[in-house]
């Protein structure tokens, strides 16, 4: 039993090691190309640390994601509650939402630069655009999935629409909302890297283009990619632990 459990823990580690070895071997067998191996990549990461550059870039990226994401949350939740609640309103806005939805947030880059110039605002705007629609649609769907009993019970106790939204509709959608928030934060992290490659002069996305443009430092490119992956993982972990806080937990317990 004990050995089995320690084996389970070992399995992904062994697999990762095997991949790294294969990668190193492949690079070793083809010496005349720019792709770095894991060893050079590790060196690249080590190179970035002493300058304090990496910390500044991570902070810059997380800062933009935070603003774009929270602005989207702040607008999308109340708007989604209202749209999901009023069927007529939903019929009116739904076609527009369906047209906007398939447009990649990256398609907004020229407009972002046109409106806000090269800088933080442009990146934040792009993240907002990337988060807002998926979140709005998630909230609308969640509202429509709220059992009619809850709404009827709320009305029966004399709640007017605003109180009904605050005291019944909003808490009722929290479990689905948490899932939506997690997915959306993932999108935000995808968008920030792309936005930084074009619209700003700092951040992890900028690190990647800059390393390539300034002398084909592919070791730094891959190092940047690894850091993006790790920070993204940490962000996801953060939202997951929010899901587990007791006041928000009820929906997850019920499903079991």
């Amino acid at each position: 039993m004990n050995t089995l459990r320690s084996l389970e823990w070992l399995r992904p580690v062994l697999f990762l090691l095997a991949l790294l070895v294969a990668w190193q071997l492949a690079v070793f067998l083809h010496p005349h190309q720019l792709m770095p191996g894991p060893w050079k990549t590790a060196h690249g990461i080590a190179d970035l640390f002493p300058h304090g550059l990496i910390a500044r870039y991570v902070v810059a990226s997380v800062f933009r994601v935070t603003w774009g994401f929270f602005l989207a949350v702040l607008v999308a939740i109340p708007l989604g509650l209202v749209i999901g609640w009023c069927q007529r309103f939903e019929l009116a806005v739904n076609p527009i939402l369906q047209i906007l939805r398939p447009i990649s947030p990256l398609a907004w880059i020229p407009i972002a630069i046109l409106w806000f110039g090269v800088g933080d605002m442009a990146a934040i705007f792009l993240i907002f655009i990337g988060c807002f629609l998926p979140l709005l649609l998630a909230v609308i769907d969640a509202v429509r999935a709220v059992p009619a009993v809850y709404i009827n019970a709320g009305r029966n106790f004399g709640l007017k629409p605003v109180a009904l939204m605050r005291r019944v509709l909003y808490p009722a959608i929290v479990p689905r909302l948490m899932t939506g928030l997690r997915i959306t934060l993932g999108i935000a992290w995808l968008v920030v890297v792309a936005a930084e490659m074009i619209a700003v002069n700092s951040g992890l996305g900028f690190l990647i283009v800059d390393a390539r443009n300034a002398g084909n430092r592919y070791d730094l490119v891959v190092a940047g990619m690894v850091i993006i992956g790790v920070v993204g993982l940490l962000l996801d972990y953060g939202v997951r632990s929010l899901e587990r806080t007791s006041s928000l937990r009820w929906g997850f317990e019920e499903k079991r």
């Binding site: 059992p147 009993v149 809850y150 009827n152 019970a153 009305r155 029966n156 106790f157 004399g158 005291r167 019944v168 808490p171 009722a172 929290v174 009820w250 929906g251 317990e253 019920e254």
Partner: protein, 268 residues
Amino acid sequence: MIRASADSFTGDAMPRASAAGKLRVENLGVAFQREGATLPVLDDVNLSVRDGEFVCLLGPSGCGKSTLLNAMAGFLQPTSGQVLVDGEVVRGPDPRRIFVFQERGVFPWLTVAGNIGFGLGKLSREERAKRVQHYVQMVGLQGFEKSYPHELSGGMKQRVEVARALAVNPDVLFLDEPFGALDSITRMVMRSELLRIWEAERKTILFVTHDIDEAVQLADRVVVISARPGRIQQIVDVDLQHPRDISSPRYLKLRDGILSQIGLAHRI
């Protein structure tokens, strides 16, 4: 209103004072539109319920019991006729008349105390805590005030629903098969608790069930509804004192009378 005929088993029922009535259903009809066709569900229902009376609505599945209850509670606009409470036409739900759903209606994001205090927003904090505590005790949930619904059994959730309804001190309670999802032992316990609460608080209760025994054990009057389109087939006075002896000849006679009325006598 179709009354039990003179030779029926309710012959020796005590004459009841039929005042104006707490709740009156007048020529009520409900029809649903479905796939272009009109589906009549209730047809010309007339009923008068006295203040403090316990009335059971009994009928086969799909006969429109829930529809009738929803119309009385104001959740559904009737196609014709009207419902009056205290002489006032019902136009929507109202905290003076609380609908008790099966235990599904308990809010899973609130604790037991939070659920029971849900309708008490207008009271001061101390006032509310006192009221909540009173009803926690009445339904026997002491020690569970801080529990969330997913930590409770079905019967306990049903108690929370009943306590939440009683806490706002309504005149009328509507219960739609409130114990239908519970096991038979819990159901028996809940029935006697409901009777105890009813005797203490004297609410007017309209209780939907498709269980004949349940109806005869609980109600002052049993309203038997026919299959769709639902009409009142018969109203049976249950002239038995509480606590009722469910093996007494009178009880059995009433029950068998309703069974034969529905056309199921001695079939099983």
